[in-house]
């Protein structure tokens, strides 16, 4: 419906008349909204930029302008803590390197020309390097137990490892749900619907209080791993439904052709069905990844030290108490950057794939 309108660059006056002042009511609404936006934005700009305190050793200067100017000094002072949590201060280059490595991996995986089986190998190698860097204990690096991992690094780790393990599991679940074998199908449906029916918090609470009961005496796994397991099990159920959507989009003839060629079930699945199904499913998969990335923030409830928790802990210090609005705006910007990038990518990809299919 926007096709009929002239483009922004054509003629500014014509564009204004066409899009903002095309009738008397619309002109009134436009002016009213513009006035309201100005009334709201001007004080916000004053607060966030003009009167803001950008850096200060303590919060005294901030308290003087409270309500008038934002206290970004909180972020400036605490940024190392927010990024890396309680990781040993002089070792911060290690998680920083890991963050950069992860970002490179994300970007590389986003490019279609790198979509080939070798990418899985690259990811595997990358995750091993990250594990070595984070834990240390070799190549002269001090060992850092994972209770001390934290901040943005932990958020990225939870999300990345979560998806890396949940994705293969979800493919198995989706295949199981479409299986001809009733026992397999019932179990997969039961699992998927059970997990999707309960909130993630209940799974996280379960992982933190119930999982220790499941294990034989003397065996214990730490809190980070328990939460990671819960998140993997959770993500797998949601991803499985997306993968199932992709599987359903593969035409019946493809299955029959593969059967006719005498391919076994697994060869048929690996060579014929999955390559087509996953390609269709990529945009919704990315959307599920976005949801999962946002959901990692829930670990704050079971006391894991992710980005949001470190911000809360920084706020808990008496010196910085009461600057929650600034802190959460900063957290929003960080999460938004990652999620918005992913969602734009997913929309572009959807357009590209749709174009390719038409050719």
């Amino acid at each position: 419906m926007s096709a009929a309108r002239p483009a922004f660059g054509a003629s500014p006056i014509a564009w204004l008349r066409e899009n903002l002042f095309y009738s008397v009511p619309s002109s009134i609404v436009t002016l009213l909204l513009a006035w309201l936006a100005w009334k709201g934005l001007a004080p916000f700009i004053d607060w966030a930029f003009v009167n803001a305190i950008w850096s200060a050793p303590d919060s005294k200067a901030c308290r003087d302008v409270k309500g008038v100017g934002a206290c970004w000094a909180l972020i400036t002072e605490k940024h190392r803590f927010i990024l890396f949590g309680t990781y040993p201060f002089e070792q911060h280059w290690r998680p920083l390197l890991c963050i950069l490595l992860l970002l490179v991996l994300y970007v590389v995986s986003a490019m279609r020309r790198f979509w080939r089986p070798a990418l899985a190998g690259v990811w595997l190698a990358g995750l091993v390097v990250i594990g070595v860097l984070m834990w240390g204990g070799m190549f002269g690096m001090v060992y850092v137990e994972n209770e001390r991992w934290g901040g943005l690094m932990l958020t990225l780790l939870l999300a990345t490892f979560g998806i890396a393990f949940a994705f293969p599991l979800s493919i198995l679940l989706a295949l199981g749900r479409r299986s001809d074998m009733p026992a397999v199908r019932i179990m997969c449906v039961g699992y998927i619907e059970l997990i999707r029916g309960v909130p993630l918090i209940s799974l996280l609470i379960m992982a933190s209080v119930m999982l220790p009961l499941f294990l034989p005496e003397g065996v214990s796994i730490d809190k980070l791993l328990r939460a990671q397991i819960a998140m993997i099990l959770f993500a797998a159920a949601y991803l499985a439904e997306v993968v199932r959507g992709g599987l359903q989009a593969v035409p019946q003839g493809q299955y029959e052709a593969a059967d006719a060629m005498g391919l076994s079930y697994w060869r048929k699945t690996m060579l014929i069905v999955l390559p087509q199904a996953l390609r269709v499913a990529i945009p919704p998969l990315v959307n599920t990844f976005i949801g999962f990335f946002k959901d990692t923030s829930l670990v704050v409830i079971i006391g894991l030290f992710d980005l949001l928790t470190s911000i809360k802990v920084a706020l808990g210090e008496p010196a910085w108490n009461g600057f929650g609005v600034e802190a959460y705006i900063f957290a929003s910007i960080v999460y938004f950057t990652f999620c918005y990038a992913m969602s734009q990518y997913s929309q572009n990809l959807e357009r590209e794939l749709a174009r390719d299919r038409r050719h």
Partner: protein, 401 residues
Amino acid sequence: MAGETGAGVGADARRSPFSLNNPRVRAVVYQVVLVAAVVLGVWYLASNTAHNLEVRKIASGFEFLDRESGFEIGESPFVSYSAADTYRKAFIVGLLNTFRVAVIGIVLATLIGTLIGLARLSHNWLIAKIAAGYIETIRNIPLLVQLFFWYAIISENLPGPRDAVNPLPDVYLSNRGIVFPVFASHPVHAWMGFALLAGIALAWGVARWARARQARTGQIFPIFSVGAGLILGLPLVVFLVAGAPTALNRPELSGFNYTGGGVLTPEFAALLAGLTLYTAAFIAEIVRAGVLAVDRGQFEAAAAIGLRPRRAMRLVILPQALRVIVPPMTSQYLNLTKNSSLAVAIGYPDLVSIANTAMNQTGQAIEGIAVIMAVYLTISLSISAFMNWYNKRIALRGATR
């Protein structure tokens, strides 16, 4: 199972009924192995759990529900509760609190979301862009961060009750929450409730009669306005007959807080604001997709056969748009209900938060988790059952027309 390949399998089966090369035999073997593995795994975990519980001297079972809870709950608007009550009652209070925020949230999110979805379709560039900006921003920030944000705004940035913000007469915003006047309780309120129910029943009857008459004679009855009149009018008549008691219960400052009036605690207000605004962004996209899914030709065709705009909307456009809108809307309602469990992070006493407290006090982790999961599964399954029924109804009506 294996139905589509019946003939081939039959031939195989005749040749070697118990060979592993027979797909049917193989399928049975696979399934037996899988079921055995799962049963073994569950048995292993269960026996570990039983042993661990024994070692830690935790008695399993739901007997603890009848014990005294010993903790206070911040808000319980529907039933009176004190620390001397049982865990069972505490769970009920939590459940009611979950329902309270979920129901109000669903209604508000639907209204706001529809408005924003339509705004995004507006021909006015400014309205459309503001709506799009809202949707993009809200959808890409975790709900939990938004909840913390709203809670920080209310609890840190609003003044204390003594210098509360007073935007409307008798409405006060302070760091203790939002207080507002309510109608003082009066027996007529119960009668107005009955009148409302009677109005709904009458409107339903009239609608049936009108449909039958239209089928018989072709005459159209203005059922929408008459129905609305009955449903809203009857309670109004009762209200007026009782002498229109408009006495207000106003909030008043006494000491450090307000007494009287209605109150939204900071926790409830932050949770409701967060859930509503977050879900509204998703609903807006659903509504937009629903409206776009109806072909322009449908409007024109409806006009061409002489339907007035309102009837065209009700008979032609809405049934088609709703068919696209209802299924994703269901999952948004479910999401909102499940997301209300984030209340535990800002201290609103919902079911999860109370179960969490109870688990910490009693050590009855399995039972606590079981209660949470059972409740959410029940809610999920009933909402999806209701929506499936509604969806089927809409689809059928569309199909028979």
